[in-house]
Structures are given as structure tokens and as C-alpha cells.
């Protein structure tokens, strides 16, 4: 990259959304990119799930996954074929949508028609989540020792007791662990969860109603789960958490105006950023761990740098009502991109035999995959797409 010219303006002009996706009638509670940024999954407060084709910005699958609010969505498996949805009906569903399944699913958006029944995709698993709170599930893949078997994942959901965590393994549907509430602290309800499975140990990150953030690691056998790190960084309930493993840090946001950065290793005190904008939800760190974004209740999505001073880099204002969900597209590094291009080209070869040059739609897909999307879902049911950094 060429060094910055000294005369260049110190700031970029205010960002504007590239696209807006209007499909939901209720507030959008969850957004997530999948399949190498070619698809966007969104879920709303009425239980509707829409799978969008990002390059052409059209829906490819619409169904009602839950009769009540969607709390969170996730993806699993090779080629992101399995989609996990978590609703307020105390269910966690795992659906299978392969590329070829998309054609058979309805494309009629809820905004057009809500009464007719859409065909739901193939339901693989259904878990009961016995907790009456708003905490969405967390998941992480478990690197399988045996390449041939299906990749398994761990899913963490809040337990029945306030502050307890239950971890289940899928597809075996066996309970792996249950973490009791932290002794001696009245933490209130569980508000946010994150999981990470390193080679042998499991790291569980939890945010609580009281504003506490706690870190658990797999105890040696026979021991009970105890937090290795507890900090009260917020005066209000924690709303979201995310891990940045490369930085050995995690970030938390809450209903107050503070964004906290916790270090994973040493039990030092968290670093706080007082943003003066209360209510920032759905904190996500981009896959390259350079920026993080929050969806603000004041209708603005904010982007902060992850390193050092957590400077506010951009304020994305378009939504007139509060934002509840934000997601970054994966930043595919050059090698990955090339690989992607090659694989596309190879597909092209198979299809047309004669040429390796990409068709228009392929080029569009490739460009879309390379774009550093940021998607934000708002109370007004709209999802805005921004191209940031």
C-alpha cells in the first residue's frame, strides 16, 4: 500500500449505505454472513428467517423458523449447509439448506405476504432451551480428530438457573458441561455468551445482567467450573460479547455507554471506553480483528478500532430507528480469495470447458465476496449494507 500522502484529507467523507434490504416487517434481531459472504442470514422479531443472496441482493429462502422472536442465528458444517436458529419459544433448531435446496424454498418476503405457509427446510435437530431470558446461544466447532466423521460443534445456552450455562454437543445432542452461577456474586440473568475451543480446552465467555463479564476454562477432571476471570465493567446489563483471539482480548458492550476491552491472559482490569452513546448491542469483531462494530439504540452503527485506543472510526447513520444487530462479512485474505477464484474458475471450466474467463455473474460474485461488508439490522425491519475499510 502506498504511504499516505501528507496532503490527503484527514478523514473520509461520511459513509453512506451501499444497499438496503427491505424484507422484514418486524425488527431485525440477528444478521450473519455465510458461505464466503455470498449469503446473508437475517432473523426478525416475528420469527421469520430470510436467506439473502448477497451479490444480487435478492432473497433465496424465506421461512418462519419460530413462532416467536429470533434471538440468534448461526451456521455449521462444510459449506455452511446447516443453519442454526434460536428463538424465544425456547427452541434451538438446526436446519439443512444446501445450495440445491434453495430452489425449492419460498422466496416470498414477509413484507409481501405473511399469512401463507412457506415450506420450511429440512430440520435436522431441535434442542430445548429451558431459560426465560434473551441470551442468544453461542457455538464453536470442535476440531474433529477423525477427518472422515462429520464435524461436531458445541452449543452453549443459558441454563434453567439464573446465571447457569449449559453446553451441549451436536450432532450427538449430549450435554458436555453445565456451568453453575458464579458463587458469591449476584450476577442476575445471563445476557451474552461466547465459546472458543482451542486444541484441548474450552473457553467460555459470559456476560451478565449485573454488568459482570466472566471467563471460564475447562477445569481439570473432577473439578467444578470456576471463573478464571471476573470483572464488572458495566453499570448496566451486558448486551454482547466478542472474542478477538489474535489480540488475546475480548470486548463487551452493555446498555450503558461503555465498551470494555478485557484481556484473556492476565487478570488485569478491563480498559473502558466511555462512548457517551448508551445502548450498544451486537458487538462484533471482524475476522481480521482490526475493527469492531456495535449496533446502537440511537440508530447509528459505530465502528471502532480494536487496537490501542479503540478510537471511533465511523458512525454509520441511516436508520431512523434503533439498530439491534450488526455483522461483518469475513475478510478473505488474498490467498483465500485466489483459491476461491480458482475454484470458481474450475467450476467454470467444468461448465463451459473452453474458457477460464469469468462470466459477468461470476465476476459479480467474486467482487461481492471481496467486499468488506458490514450489515446492520434495525427496529424498522430494514437491513443496511455498508462497505467499510
Amino acid at each position: 500500500m502506498a504511504p499516505d500522502l501528507p496532503l490527503q484529507a484527514s478523514t473520509l467523507p461520511p459513509a453512506q449505505p451501499k444497499y438496503t434490504l427491505r424484507g422484514h416487517t418486524a425488527q431485525v434481531h440477528a444478521v450473519r454472513f455465510l458461505r464466503r459472504n455470498s449469503r446473508l442470514l437475517t432473523g426478525d422479531a416475528d420469527g421469520w428467517i430470510i436467506l439473502w443472496n448477497v451479490p444480487i441482493k435478492r432473497p433465496v429462502a424465506v421461512w418462519r423458523a419460530h413462532p416467536q422472536t429470533i434471538l440468534g442465528v448461526g451456521v455449521w458444517g462444510k459449506g455452511d449447509e446447516k443453519i442454526i436458529t434460536h428463538g424465544r419459544d425456547n427452541k434451538l433448531h438446526v436446519w439443512q439448506i444446501r445450495q440445491e435446496d434453495e430452489t425449492s424454498l419460498s422466496k416470498i418476503l414477509p413484507i409481501e405476504e405473511t399469512t401463507i405457509e412457506r415450506r420450511a427446510p429440512w430440520l435436522l435437530h431441535s434442542l430445548d432451551v429451558n431459560a426465560l431470558n434473551f441470551c442468544t446461544f453461542a457455538m464453536c466447532p470442535v476440531p474433529s480428530l477423525n477427518q472422515s466423521t462429520e464435524e461436531s460443534i458445541l452449543v452453549a445456552v443459558p441454563g434453567i438457573n439464573d446465571g447457569a450455562i449449559t453446553i451441549t454437543s451436536l450432532p450427538s445432542q449430549t450435554r458436555v458441561a453445565s456451568i453453575p452461577p458464579i458463587a458469591g456474586i449476584n450476577t442476575g440473568m445471563l445476557m451474552a455468551l461466547r465459546l472458543h475451543h482451542a486444541s484441548t480446552s474450552l473457553t467460555v465467555l459470559a456476560g451478565y445482567e449485573s454488568g459482570h463479564v466472566a471467563l471460564f476454562r475447562t477445569p481439570s477432571s473432577g473439578q467444578t467450573w470456576k471463573p478464571s476471570y471476573v470483572a464488572k465493567a458495566h453499570a448496566q446489563p451486558v448486551l454482547s460479547l466478542d472474542l478477538a483471539l489474535g489480540l488475546r482480548a475480548c470486548f463487551s458492550s452493555s446498555a450503558d455507554a461503555i465498551i470494555a476491552r478485557h484481556t484473556l491472559d492476565a487478570s488485569t482490569e478491563p480498559a473502558l471506553l466511555k462512548t457517551k452513546h448508551a445502548g450498544q448491542q451486537s458487538l462484533v469483531v471482524r475476522s481480521d480483528e482490526r475493527v469492531l462494530a456495535t449496533a446502537g439504540w440511537d440508530g447509528r452503527v459505530r465502528v471502532y478500532g480494536t487496537r490501542g485506543g479503540m478510537t471511533e472510526l465511523a458512525v454509520l447513520k441511516w436508520h431512523k430507528e434503533g439498530c439491534y444487530a450488526a455483522a461483518f462479512a469475513d475478510v478473505l485474505d488474498e490467498g483465500e480469495q485466489l483459491q476461491g477464484d480458482e475454484s470458481l474458475a474450475r467450476q467454470g471450466d467444468e461448465a463451459e470447458i473452453t474458457t477460464t474467463a469469468m462470466t459477468v455473474s461470476q465476476r459479480r460474485e467474486a467482487n461481492s465476496a471481496k467486499t468488506h461488508w458490514l450489515a446492520a439490522g434495525s427496529k424498522d425491519g430494514k437491513v443496511s449494507l455498508w462497505d467499510i475499510y
Binding site: 473520509l12 464488572k232 473502558l272 448508551a278 440511537d298 485506543g309 471511533e312 465511523a314 458512525v315
Partner: protein, 1003 residues
Amino acid sequence: MEDLLKAARTVDRRPDAKENYLTAIDRTSEPLRSTLNGTFDGSTQVPIPSTAALVFGRPRTAKKVLDVLRAEPGPAQLIASLSALLDPTGLDNDFKISSPGPLQAKIINTVLTSIVPNFWSSSDREIRDLLISSLSTVSAISAILSSIQGLIIQLEAKRESQDTAKCSDLISVLSEVLKRDSSIHSIWTSLRTSSPSAVQLDLVWKQFANIIGSGKVLSVVAEAEDALPDTSLDKQHRWLAAGSEYAGWLGRSIAYFAIKEHVSKDVSTSQALSQLLTRALTIGHALPFITALHTTLLRHAAEPVSTTGTSLRYTAQYLPAHSKRAFLEHTLRWLATLLSHHDTDHIVSASSAQDVSAAAYLLDVLVADDETLRRHLMTFSTDPATSSSFPFTIRRAKLAVISRKEDDALHTVFEDVLRNFSDPLFIKHAPTMQQESMAQTLLVAAGYIHRATPVGLLTLVRASGHMQGVSNRLDASNTRARWLGMIVGTALSGLVDKEGMTMNFGTDDMRTVEAHWYLDLIKVDDYLGSHEALLKLTKQDAVARRPRQKHDKRITSLPVIDGKPTFGPLRPPQAPVQTEVEGAKVTEILDSSSDADNDLKPYAKPDSDPEDSDEDATLVNRNKTRPPVYIRDLMTMLRDTENHGPFTLGLQHAGSLIRRKTGFGKEVSDHAEEVARIFCSLQDPFDTDDFDELKLQALIAIVMSSPTTIAPWLGRQAFVGEYSIAQRCVMLTALGLSGRELAGLKEPDELNPVSSKPSFPSKQLPSHLHSIYTPSTRRLEAAHTSLEKSLIAPLALQAADQSTAHLNAVKVRTFSSRMETARTKRKAPPNGLAKIFAQCYFTPLVRSYQQDIAAYGSGSLWVSASFLLVTLVKTLALLLHASGPATLTLRDVTENFWQMLLALRVQASGDNAVLEAVLFGFLTLLEVNANKQQLAMEFSKQLMETRDWVDMVFERTGASGFVDQEGTGEEAKVRTLAAGVLVRAGEIMEASRAAFMGGMSDF
């Protein structure tokens, strides 16, 4: 248990073994006593002492009681001795605490000086009740008052906490003794049973009536309240110092007395009642008093029918004649307020016929068997001044009552009124209000007489000087007087003359809505209503008058963040919210390592990125309100006294919104009156910036939207209702400024109304005081000053010109200056005010003013608050000037305004501000009437009077020597104005002389 322990400890001033023993016993008696609490309901029942009191045995004689009380008794002894005092058979020698006597005085004195300070504030209900009962006597009440008076003197000299406590204790004793409605009655009954002789009874009761009825309690307690520190007096005892509340209590008490006693035939009792009532009628808060009296009587009489009648009659029967008159007048005033909240205008809707008959019922009951009261009622109908001070509905009720009598009382009334009405002096000099009221009375009475005996009316009309009266009226120069004569003539002729012979003037002004309303008055036939109807009316009134609770915001002050006060709803009372992060330490991220982020260039902020209004995340308001788009929105926003945002926003956009929407559909015109009402009574719960200015702008806008309906309404509104002086001033100012705008005279800061801030904030009072002491008439003042200058300046120039007449040859008008005057003269915009000034602005204001003065005399707000009067006169003068010489019916306006100004001469001589306003009024009058000769001919008398008076004023102000040479200051201003009036008057007289000489005077 605990409170008892505390009480004992408080009185335990000599902690020896015996006293401790007493308290120990007392403590054990607690459960027994608890059954007593709350049984004392305020009748003559005496609380039964608990058994503990009996442990020591009761003192047998009054002397012994006194000894016990003097010897600093313990609670149990106190209970024993007090209950012995109260027990009718408790003491020897037939001793009664309620009757006057030296021993009683000693006991009361001891109780007040040593028992009350020790026991009152610390004792439980039982001792308090005993104290209250034993102090419920005439001599005790007067003793309490004199001790309070003594304490006030001490407090004024030096405020000591001991005296303060004593004083507030005494006040609360007094309040407890008196507060029940039945107190007065029970004092009377106990006095009567215990008094040995009628003479003594009479004397004591006279003393009591003096204390209670004459407002002595009121003045003493109010003085004490003033001397006490703010917080020391409990809120529930403050009624003793609040005039209207006290008067209400007195009314209820007297009503209770009457209800209890009206079946008994005891003459002394009813005389006692009338003594008290006579006193109470002079207390100065007549309306709350009479309201409480009548409503209580009505409520209590609900069960057995016709007791209202008897108890009401009982109340009034022994009153002296002049008190009867006052009683009747106050009753009428009360009925007037009861009826008038529907509409203050004289065009009465059909629904009020019921109300009129309900009022007639009460009057009928009151005067039924009482010749004096009936005579007074008739006088009230025939006397022009009194009659005009009541609204038309009351006049109707009076006539309905009079017409029900068999004798020819109504004929007498008719004759009297007709005589007055036809009197040339009355026609010429009486205010229009009185003339109208006489005409109305005449027509309604004629209707009644005609229905009863058509021939009777014929005789009356033929015999009395009716025809002469009509012709007198037709001669009158005042158009209104003439018109009234035509109306009465036509109406009466329609009743008595044969078909085809009826009088018919056939002019246009006999076909107006008002004329038809007058002509229909002969058909008015009100029946006597029922008790239920009246009761319903009083209840409606109570509902209508319930004041809107002002949002009490000063309980907790809003937080201050970063040195700026925040706005918003009050913090809800909540468990302490944690806003700071707990834990050992918090490291704020420093910018030291921010170089890592440098490769990411930040985006610029979007157009708006407001920071949170509050640091506490639970209080951040995300529902931003938008400015109102519809009048309906505006009204809801202004009614929202809970939320700061909508209220302020609504107020800020009110003026422009109303102006924008005027003439756009019927949105504004449909709600004009409602919106105006909101603004009239709007209070500022949030200390909004520029509240007065914004309110004024909105009011002007609403008047401008439909001046013909809103201006008269606002003019009347300024005189009725329960508005503050500031609110009335704003209404008048809005009228004045809207009138000027209609006339095409824009204020200099019209286009940028809010920008005119006073330059030096340091010279202002603090904002909350500023708004109290300077009602928003600033704009009016500015208009007044500029107008005054423009009126005086040419006169001064002329005077200078004349004084240098010998230099005439040298005076040259420069060419350039002439061009300048010609160039700056713009074409005047059409004067929209001239057409409607008399009807929509002038008449409602002056009529309401005269009615108010007639009704309340010197007690009227418009007399006592000279500021208000000044504003009124200046408003009228400004409007008249704006309306200009082209004003329709300028002659009538001139006459009425002149009359009003001349009537203000007395007041003006005592108050410089009024004097200035009156002089300004005169100057405007003379200025606006451009036709000098006509003015001199038609108003020669007024002109001469004015000139003489102003001459006197001029001499006086000049003589006092206060006028400084520079010509500044109040006195100088008055003098300048007076000089201006004199010059103008001189000119007019000169002009008339010139006309008389046929233009020869020049030679």
C-alpha cells in the same frame, strides 16, 4: 409502647422516684386505652378517660384541679384532672369550664402556659382530645389568641426556637379546637347550658362572634405565620391564616348551626346565630363564605324535603336590615358565579333556562316570608347600578321570583324601571351597561305582566310616561340609547297595541340578531325550579372549578451535568442505580498506543450524532418529539404538563403554526376558542425560555386568525375566571398588539419576535422573579412609548415654532429635508381594525370593565391592581389610535371612552402610572377625533371638564418642583403629556370658536 415512653420522657422534668413510678403505671395501661382512639368524632361527646386516670382518684373541686395543673402533673394526673373538668357531674359547686368566671380563666391560663407547651406536641391522641375539649370554650379561644399575639411580639423582637415551638403549638391547638364544622355549634350549646344568666350569655357570645366572625383569628394567625420561620407551621393548620379557607369553614359552621337548630324555637339561639352571621358577612371573603354556607345547607337538606327552606329562612330571619341586604347581595353574587360559567355573554343559550329557574328557587325560598328581603330584591332590580352589576340570568331569576307574588310588586318594579329608563338625565349620563340592563328588566317584566293581566300592562304603559320616555330616547345623541328606546317602544307596542297600530321603525339596526334577542325578551317565562336542580348546579360548579393541579416540580431539582441544567422528566424514585463501575480501579484507555489504528482513516461524522442527554443509561430519552403539524397535535402537546419536550416544542411552534394554518381549511377556526383558552390559562411548569413572549405570540396569532370572534371573547375573558394578573396582562397585550397588526402597524421586531432580548442580564431580576414581577407587557409598553412620542413630537415642534415666531423670516425649510419626509412616507396598508374595533375590541373590554367595577366596587382587582388598569387603559388608547379616525361608530366609542377616563380621575390623582395612562388616553382621544368642530360641539361638557382637570394636573406637577430640567422622570413625562392634552384641547376650542365666528377670527 415506644411512643408512650417517649412522651413520658418529654414531660419528665423532675426525674425523681415518684415520677418514674407514675410512668411505669402509665405504660401498663396502654392496651386499655387503645380502644378509645378514633372514637372522638367531634360532637359534644367527652372522651372517657382511661382507667389509669382513676388510679389517682379525681380531684373533687375546681380549685384542686387548678392546683394539680399548676404542680406540673404527669400524664396520668393530667388525664384525671382534665376529665374531671369535662365531666358535668365531676366537680362540686356546679363548676362548668365553659361558662366564664375567674376560676375558669385561671385554669385556662395554666393550661395554656404550662400544660400545652409541655404536653401538646409530645402527647398521644387521648391527652390531645382532652385538651381540645377543655379548651373548646369562648374564653379559652380568646385566651389562645391573646397568647399568640403576645408571642408574636416576642418573636418579632427575637426569634427563639422556644417561642417558635410555643407559638406553632398554640396555633395547632386553635386549629384543632376550631377545625370541625360543628365546633361553633358545640361551643354554643355548652355555653348555653352552663351560663347562669341571659345577659352573661349574651355578652360572652358577643365576644365570641367578635373573635370568630370579625376575622381576628385570621389576622392574628396570619401575623404569627409571618413571624414564624417557614417550615415550623404544619400545613394542616394553615387554613386559619388563609382567608378564603377560613371563610369557607365559617360558612360551613354557620350552616351546621342552622341545620341543628332550625327546629328549635329558641329566640336567643337564633339571635346568636344572626350575630355571628352579621359579623361573618363583613369578613371580606364573601364569596367563599356564602358558597360554603349555601352548599352545606343544600347538601344537608337533601333528606327531608323543605328543610333547606326552613334552615335558610332561619339563618336570615333575625338579621338586621342592612345585613339582610348584604346577605341577599352575596347570595346573588354567588348565584351569578354559578350561572355565569356557561357563558359570560348576554346572549343566553336555551340550556341556561333550567339554571335560571334553579336560582329562582333559592331566591324564592329566601324571600318568601320576609318583607325586608323582598323589598331589597325589588331594589336590586330597579336600581340601575346594582342591577347592571349582575348578569342577565340573575335579573331573570329575580323577576321570576317577584312575578310569583300575588300583589302588584311587579307593577311597582315596572313603573320604577320605566321611570328611570325614560329619564333624560339617565339617558344622557348613565353608562351603556346600565341602560341595557334597565331595558332588559323592563322587557322581561312587561312579558310577565302581560301574561298575567294584559289590561294591567296597557294601563301601565298608557299611564306612565312611556311615550315620553320613548321620545326622550329618540332625542338622545347616543346611538345605543336611541336604539334601546326603539327596541323598548317596539316591544311594548307589540304587546299592548292592536294589530296594525304597532310601532315600527323599519330601520336596519332593528333587524340585527341582537335586536331580535331583545324583542324576544318579552316571551321569557321562567318557572321556579327545584331543590334538586340547584343541588345539581352546585355540584357541576364544583367540578368545573376544580383547579388543575400544577405540576409540582420543585420537590427534587433536576440534575446538572457538565454545569448545564438538564431537562426531562423527574427521576423516578428508584433504588440507587449504580452508575459508577465497582471494582478496585478502572484504567481509562489512553491514546498512547493509538498509532496502531492509524492505518485506518476515520470516516467523518454524519450530519447529526448527538450525545446522550443523560449519563444514566436508564434515563436516556430516545423518543424525540417532532414539532406539531396540526392544531390538534399542538393542543395535546400543550396539555402535557408532565413532559418537558413536547410542551416546549409545542409552545415554540404555536405562533407560527397557527399563522400558517389560518385560512387553511377549518382547522384553526374550529378550535380557535379552545386553543385561546389553553393559552390564556397556560402555566409554565418547566421554566421555558421566553415563555411569556411565546405565549403572547401564540395568542396574537390566534386573535389574528379570526378577530371578530376571538377578540371579543378574549376581551371578556380578561375579566372573568381565576386568572393571575400576569395572565390578564398577557391577554390585554395580545389584544392590543393584534389590533395594531390588524391596523397595519407592525411592531419593529415583528419579523424576528424572539430576538428582542434585554441587553444587560445583570440588570434583571433572577429569571423566576423576573417572570413574577414583570408581566409581559413589554411589547405593549414599547408600542405605547413610540406612539406617545409620535403624538407629542409635532406638538413640541409647533410650540417651538410659535415661541420663535419673531424669527419666521429666517426659518427656511431645507429642500432635502422635505424630500426625505416625502420619500419615507409609505402607502399605508388597509386598516382592518377600523371596521371592527368598536364591536370586537372596545365594547367587550369596556363593558366587562364596567360590570366588574359595578359588581365589586373598590374590591375589584381592576381597582386594587393599578398595573392592570394601566395596561387596560393603554391597550384601549393604543387600539383607538391604531383604529384611527375612520373607526366605525367613532362617536359612541369616543363617548364611552371619555366617560371611562373621566371616571378614573380620582384614581389617577393618587397614582402616577394611572395618571399617565389616563392622560395618554385623553391625548389619543383628541388626536383620533379629527373633526375638531364636531368634537367641540358634541362633547363640549367633557372637553371642558377634561381641560380643567388636566390644567390642574399640569399646575400640580409643575408646582411640586420634582421636574428636573432635562425633562426625564415620571413627573416630567406626566407634565409633557398634560401639556400635550392642553394644547390639543386648546386647538379644538379654537377651531370651534373659529366656526362660531364664521371664519372671521383670522382677522
